[in-house]
Amino acid sequence: MRRFHYLAPRRLDEALSLLTPDAVPLAGGTDLFLRMERRQTQPDAVVDLKRIPDMDRIEPSDGGLRIGALAPMESLAASSLIVNGYRALAESARVVGSIQTRNRATIGGNLANASPAADTATPLLALGATAEAGRVDGSRELPLEQLFLGPGRTALESGELLTAVRIPAMPGRTGSSFQRCVRTAMDIAVVNCAAFVKLDEDGAVEDARIALGAVGPTPLRALSAESCLQGRRFDADAAAEAAECAAHDARPIDDVRASADYRKDMVRVLTRRAVENAFQRARGEA
């Protein structure tokens, strides 16, 4: 590892002002340090965000939820706000790494790292989240879809920090579910999938969002699968058709973890399971 300066500001504005082009932000370090050790990132300075107060808060906001970028996975998995209202997100946070990893790994780091397999990215996409980006002269909000540009690349500009994630309110008759497929218990997803459905009074789909991970250069929305569900009532065929559409939406590759073929198969399986599960939850059955 190359030598670097370690900076630990105590205020957000101070942190923002330290973010020169040769500096990188540090949250839990569970991705960053590995990259530095492998010399894939060789910063002059590391700006540690963990001393900034309240940047890890999980709080109700505008009827929905605002999750500070520094919130660790373990807090997400344990938060009753998230467990009760945003099941898919809690489920994803609960399976990241081991307990040791989850105590360090933050939601902001998971998103800013921009891995196509990031486990919290798919539920957040399915739940319609937005990213809050802060800079010295203010902040902006962008839909999460627009944050991811490619493997390891985000729309955050130099000098910008991801300060929080916002998720809209979850009214009644909504349900979400997260599913993933791994090689051993502690693994990066071979495929992950999150589904969200909102039903109308008759039990037909008013709104559906399905997101897939590790099957393209970024976490992605399975748009044709979503429209396939629109207006439908739940039955086995609906879930199976959505799953088939999702397999078309996926763009997997062969790599050391799995073949593209297997990934497509898993998109089918996981999408069907996630959709079924989300439906059950929307109907208060699970």
């Binding site: 090689r183 051993t184 073949s259």
Partner: protein, 743 residues
């Protein structure tokens, strides 16, 4: 017995759990330590046309650069002398050693390593055994016929560096007598030990030209000899000091970075430390041999095996290493723990452009057992016989012979097997689909190696043991228990010290499940001699007959009248005044008769037929251990072996593309973690073994051997597909299920 057979915590445990133990990278000698770094080949096979070191030598902070030019032209190897420490004319695998550098800090060393320029003429490479045996395959050692080899290494040609054939009975007749003949092929990839501590070494030279080498090794005496041979130094000019070791599993026996560290320290006149990165360790150490296996088996309809024809192709890597020995041993164990009258076994050891494999725990065991025990299950199912019955019908017994003709004693295959089946059957299968059970049985042959140990009585009545064996997995504790038992003291009164090559009496290596058998036998002899000496001194003091004296509770007393006693502390003092002098004995043993140690495992699994994910619901491990000197250690060994075996069964494989390893990291080389680990139900079969100390058998290797076969059989039982190629990944199961649906 009072101490032997008790579940006692390990003697070194406090130092370990409080972080005080000194592991390889913790050693800090006087003087500033330089950082060493290896320069390795990026090509699997290439001719070296030039090596330029000037750039590295000129870099400020660099203290030494060594290449083949700094070393004598030595070819080494225990079985075939086919290895040169630094490549001179050719590189033969990605990771082959070209040079090493030492610098004032790690960054400078890394920079210097990058500045060494090597010109290569790239050659075609082969990475699998069968490919390397093809007539048109590139030859990895052109002139290996000229290399020195042990006489037992036969039939060397092309890339085959050894071919062992065993014939027993009349295989042709055996197959003619069979009602059915089955033939299957299997493949097991290379897997790595993934000990928690990567290879590390610290080397220092003193003014007299003596090298001291601190290293976590399983084999200090052979390592001393190898370093001396490679650097052409007098053997006792090398002192190897074994540190605490963070796991070895057979991967820390052969030399890796040690000769480089010594050569650098000599040239720089400063101590040099080299610590491998995990990636380097994956590609520059001694993993487990990949195998291609063909099993042909003839059976009668009642399940009796009439003949087996077995062909084994072991990919040894770029040099013979221990591969030839392991392929010879594989031939002997290949038929499994069965009595089979007619056998033909061909075992090939083949050069490949990959790292040279070593003696990973239970060498060849998991590979052979996966093939053999998968096939036994297939046959039993085809014949409609219970797989346990089929195994019991053919299991070997006392008096049977190994394929090599050695007579077997202390065999408990049937009992072990039956116990595993019984424990599994105690509980009914859970309801539900895609749940299955599988079982496999395997054996390991535990020999013994030349060993010696010293035992003494201290003046305070405590006992000291001096050994040269590295405590890899509880050996020190068990040795102390043996001495405590003989001398009537508690474990706390026994101090065990592993000394280095300068001071320790020659001891065996910590490998092959024989450390306790060999060293325990030496300690037992020495403790018994110390007991005799204690009795001598006490007899004079108590005015009793030596034969009437017993040792217990730190005292010597007259049988029948415990009030006539003298404490060991007093004996310790008396001995100094006594005509016989201090009480001490060093005893030796040589090669010991091998005994079989059997492991039978059974698993219950649930398979998700859509994702292919295998969940282990129950895992039963039964092992024939002789006397369990410390049942806690024995259970620990079994649990650890099962976990490693399950990784090999389900997720581990070193894979290569164009000769380069695809997954030299713990993210993509998937070992079993605590989150994957099932509870293991262990059961010990204890019958004292005639050839082991106080009846103990070796326990380390057997538990890693059955798991791949067990899981393969359980998965087949659960979802009806048979995987012939390890590891049994979710993806392979899904593919097999799809293939079955659409024929």
């Amino acid at each position: 017995m009072k101490v032997v057979g008790q579940e006692l915590p390990r003697v070194e445990i406090l130092e370990k759990v409080t972080g005080q133990s000194v592991f390889g990278a913790d050693v800090s000698p006087a003087g500033r330590v330089l950082h060493g770094k290896m320069v390795r080949s990026p090509h699997p096979h290439a001719r070296i046309t030039a090596v330029r070191t000037e750039g590295a030598e000129r870099l400020p902070g660099v203290r030494a650069v060594v290449t083949a030019a700094d070393l004598p032209p030595v070819h080494y190897g225990n079985f075939v002398r086919d290895e040169e420490y630094f490549a001179r004319t050719k590189v033969r695998y990605v990771g082959d050693r070209i040079a090493a550098v030492a610098a004032v800090d790690e960054e400078t060393a890394e920079e210097a390593a990058r500045l060494i320029e090597v010109d290569y003429q790239v050659l075609p490479a082969v990475t699998s055994g069968p490919e390397a045996m093809a007539p048109e395959a590139p030859v990895i050692h052109e002139d290996h016929a000229d290399y020195w080899a042990q006489p037992s290494v036969e039939n060397r040609r092309g890339n085959v560096c050894g071919h062992k054939q065993i014939m027993r009975g009349d295989p042709e007749r055996g197959f003619a007598e069979a009602d059915r003949i089955f033939e299957h092929r299997f493949h097991v990839p290379m897997v790595h030990q993934t000990y928690i501590e990567p290879h590390t070494v610290l080397a220092q030279f003193d003014a007299s030209g003596k090298a001291t080498v601190w290293v976590p090794t399983q084999a200090q005496f052979p390592l001393r000899a190898a370093i001396a041979q490679i650097l052409r130094m007098p053997m006792t000019k090398v002192r190897v000091i074994p540190t605490e070791i963070g796991g070895g599993f057979g991967g820390k026996i052969s030399p890796t970075i040690e000769p480089a560290a010594v050569a650098l320290a000599r040239k720089a006149r400063q101590p040099v430390r080299i610590v491998m990165t995990r990636g380097e360790d994956f590609q520059g150490s001694n993993p487990r041999h990949p195998f291609h296996l063909r099993y042909k088996t003839g059976v009668r309809l009642d399940g009796t095996i009439t003949a087996r024809e077995i062909e084994l192709v072991l990919g040894t890597g770029y040099s013979a290493g221990s591969g030839v020995m392991i392929s010879q041993g594989a031939a002997v164990r290949a038929p499994g723990p069965y009595r089979i009258p007619n056998l033909r076994i061909d075992s090939y050891c083949v050069y490949t452009n990959t790292p040279t494999c070593g003696a990973y725990r239970g060498p060849a065991g998991p590979q052979l057992t996966f093939a053999s025990e998968s096939q036994i299950d297939i046959i039993a199912r085809e014949l409609g016989i219970d797989p346990v019955e089929m195994r019991l019908r053919n299991a070997f017994e006392d008096g049977d012979e190994t394929p090599a003709g050695a007579r077997l004693e202390d065999v408990h295959a049937r009992e072990t097997l039956r116990k595993a089946a019984d424990v599994m059957n105690e509980r009914p299968r859970p309801a539900g689909e895609n749940i299955g059970r599988g079982l496999a049985v395997a054996h390991w042959l535990v020999g013994g190696m030349a060993s010696s140990a010293g035992v003494k009585l201290n003046e305070d009545g405590t006992i000291g043991i001096l050994t040269g064996v590295v405590d890899l997995s509880g050996a020190s504790t068990s040795l102390a228990q043996i001495a405590a038992e003989v001398l009537g003291v508690s474990l706390d009164d026994v101090h065990v010290r592993t000394a280095d090559t300068d001071f320790a009496p020659h001891s065996t290596i910590s490998a092959g499940s024989q450390a306790l058998k060999s060293m325990g036998s030496a300690v037992l002899l020495a403790a018994r001699e110390v007991k005799r000496q204690i009795q001598q001194v006490a007899a004079d003091k108590l005015e009793a007959d030596l034969g009437d004296l017993e040792l217990d509770d730190n005292k010597v007393f007259v049988k029948g009248s415990p009030e006539r006693a003298v404490s060991l502390r007093e004996v310790g003092h008396l001995a100094l005044e006594h005509e016989r002098g201090p009480i001490v004995s060093t005893q030796s043993v040589s090669r010991l008769v091998p005994h079989p140690a059997v492991a039978a495992h059974a698993a219950e699994v649930a398979v998700d037929p859509e994702t292919g994910h295998v969940r282990i619901l129950r895992y039963v491990a039964v092992q024939d251990v002789g006397t369990a000197v410390n049942p806690l250690s024995v259970r620990g060994q079994i649990e650890g072996g099962v976990m490693q075996g399950l990784g090999q069964a389900l997720s581990e494989a070193c894979t290569f593309t164009d000769g380069k390893m695809d997954n030299p990291n713990l993210l993509d080389y998937k070992i079993f973690s605590a989150l994957d680990a099932p509870a293991v139900e262990t059961h010990l079969i204890q019958h004292p073994c005639a050839s082991g100390p106080l009846g103990a058998k070796g326990v380390g290797e057997p538990p890693i051997i059955p798991p791949p076969a067990v899981i393969a059989n359980a998965v087949a039982d659960a979802v009806g597909v048979r995987i012939h190629d390890l590891p049994i990944t979710p993806e392979k199961i899904v593919r097999a299920l799809k293939a079955r649906r659409q024929p």
